[in-house]
């Protein structure tokens, strides 16, 4: 199996001295859905920011399809699509224009833009609504549009940071379906983060449990549960989490900015 992401000793210390990601190493295989599972503040978004070249690591590095992200960030960006946890779509523009903009940022040639936009709109079932302004979209539609933006340049790897944050359970299932299809039909590698146990369990091929910037364990959901069978009867991922971190998932927002974004997301998603 081909390794497509290889992180070696990734470390990020923020300017305030906060150690957000602490010497993290792992590798992701081509075509798998790889999940980072951890509570708020665990360092999931920071890890994604490092891998997508939005932040530079304090120590360590990673390769994306063989490209070193610290040495060749520009080339690495061409290989990856990034969908942030922030639902960063432009409400005032139409779905089509959101994608047009994204295509511009990725230097797609004018001749291929239209077909490419039609292609990603179809992937997320938004073709019929593409001319409408995004402010008329539901939360799930916005998220799908955001995912479509991440797909416009046919990346090899798609990074999804908390793709179902603030969505209701039906809409979350729907998003899972799209993510699964992407992997199956397009052989895309998907790196996602979540703090939902069920999401990690049903969607991911392999899961890394991260807490306070450290990977506690990494394996398939089945193997993770198997491993603690002697301790707990019919273990769930919750038990796995408790076993490795000594605590339940907590639901607190660590910074003001984070809580602003979370509230903003939930508000927008509910519309």
């Amino acid at each position: 199996m081909k390794t497509i992401i290889e992180a070696q000793g990734l470390t990020k210390v923020y300017s305030g001295g906060i150690l957000a990601v602490d010497n993290v190493s792992f590798s992701v295989n081509q075509g798998e859905i790889f999940g980072f599972l951890g509570p708020n503040g665990a360092g999931k978004s920071t890890t994604i920011a490092l891998l997508t070249t939005l932040l530079s690591p304090t120590k360590g590095t990673a390769t994306i399809n063989g490209i070193d992200i610290t040495k060749h960030p520009y080339q690495a960006r061409l290989e990856l699509g990034f969908v942030s946890q922030d639902l960063a779509v432009e409400d005032a523009l139409s779905g089509y224009n959101n994608l047009r903009l994204q295509a511009g940022f990725y230097h797609l040639s004018r001749t291929e833009v239209h077909d490419r936009i039609a292609e990603v709109l179809k992937m997320v079932d938004l073709t019929g609504r593409s001319k409408d302004k995004v402010e008329t979209y539901s939360g799930g539609m916005r998220k799908r549009l955001d995912i479509a933006c991440g797909l416009i340049h046919r990346p090899r790897i798609l990074f999804l940071d908390e793709p179902t944050l603030g969505l209701d359970i039906q809409t979350r299932r729907e998003i899972w379906k799209y993510v699964n299809t992407l992997r199956e039909k397009n052989n895309m590698t998907i790196f996602l983060t979540t703090h939902y146990m069920d999401e990690a369990d049903s969607l991911c091929d392999r899961i890394a449990i991260i807490d306070r910037g450290v990977i506690k364990t990494l394996d398939t959901p089945t193997a993770l549960k198997e491993a603690i069978k002697n301790e707990v009867e019919n273990p769930t991922l919750d038990d796995v989490f408790l076993h490795h971190t000594g605590k339940e998932m907590r639901e607190d927002f660590t910074t003001k900015e984070e809580s602003f974004k979370a509230r903003n997301n939930i508000r927008r998603a509910r519309r």
Binding site: Y74, D86, A92, L93, N97, H107
Partner: protein
């Protein structure tokens, strides 16, 4: 560096800003209403002034609105440009900034595209002021070429203020703080300039400040063009100074932005 890609990146950042600007109906209304209020109100309340021959001489024109129009154009450019940085703070908060940064675009394209859109917005606003002014009987001595020059200077000034604001927004992460700092900057810049009152009518100390204030260079050059004619030895030094200030501030904005996103 690939110039073609850089220009393309700037274009798309610019495109986004302009599209958003044109979607904001309330803001577009303000763009028209605000100068209208200024011109009508100021024109009416101050017209008595120009009936006094001594005051008319100080203003350099027999019509207070002729005197006032360039001042209002610059004032609009000042207030429009100085909030340019808020879009960066907003993009940072909504996550759109990261979306752009994860794409293979030149970092410099983000401040440059935003500045360009501020420039164009300022020009559009200035054009609306010209149109309103024409309806109110303002006379532009140098005709259409003169009006084009006025629009260009207003645009340049908008970019200068945008440069200050973008530079600040690379350091200041909160909208409230940026707004407060911007107000703190714009009010004194405005009131220590010749935008509303002729320097000749000012006390000596204020006159000194007014002459050094870049707002005054811009207004003076525009006023010369619109009320007196192409008096180059008045216009050129002001233009050169403004261009120099703009280049420095644009460079600073790019540098601070690039550093803030590493």
């Amino acid at each position: 560096m690939n110039i073609k890609l850089l220009l393309s990146d700037i274009y798309w950042v610019f495109w986004r800003e302009i599209k958003k600007f044109l979607q904001q109906k309330a803001r577009l209304m303000m763009v028209v209403i605000q100068p209208l209020i200024w011109l009508v109100l100021m024109g009416n309340s101050m017209s008595g002034l120009t009936r006094n021959p001594q005051a008319a001489q100080m203003l350099g024109t027999g019509n207070y609105l002729d005197f006032m129009t360039p001042g209002i154009m610059i004032m609009t450019a000042l207030f429009g440009g100085v909030f340019g940085g808020t879009t960066i703070i907003w993009d940072r908060r909504t996550g759109y900034l990261n979306k752009m940064l994860a794409a293979p675009i030149y970092r410099a394209a983000i401040p440059l595209g935003k500045l360009l859109s501020i420039g164009l917005q300022t020009v559009l606003q200035a054009l609306i002021i010209v149109i309103i002014a024409l309806f109110l009987g303002v006379h532009f001595k140098t005709g259409i070429p003169g009006v084009i020059a006025l629009l260009a200077i207003a645009g340049l000034f908008g970019i200068i203020m945008g440069g200050i604001s973008l530079s600040l927004s690379s350091r200041i992460k909160s909208m409230e703080t940026l707004m407060a700092v911007s107000n703190f900057l714009t009010m004194p810049l405005m009131f220590t300039s010749n935008a509303m009152f002729p320097t000749n009518a000012m006390p000596a100390w204020l006159k000194g400040i007014a002459m050094a204030n870049p707002v005054s260079y811009a207004v003076q050059a525009m006023r010369t063009i619109s009320t007196q004619g192409w008096i180059w030895h008045d216009i050129l030094p002001a233009l050169a100074a403004l261009t120099g200030i703009m280049v420095v501030l644009v460079a600073l904005a790019i540098r601070l932005f690039s550093k803030s996103v590493n």
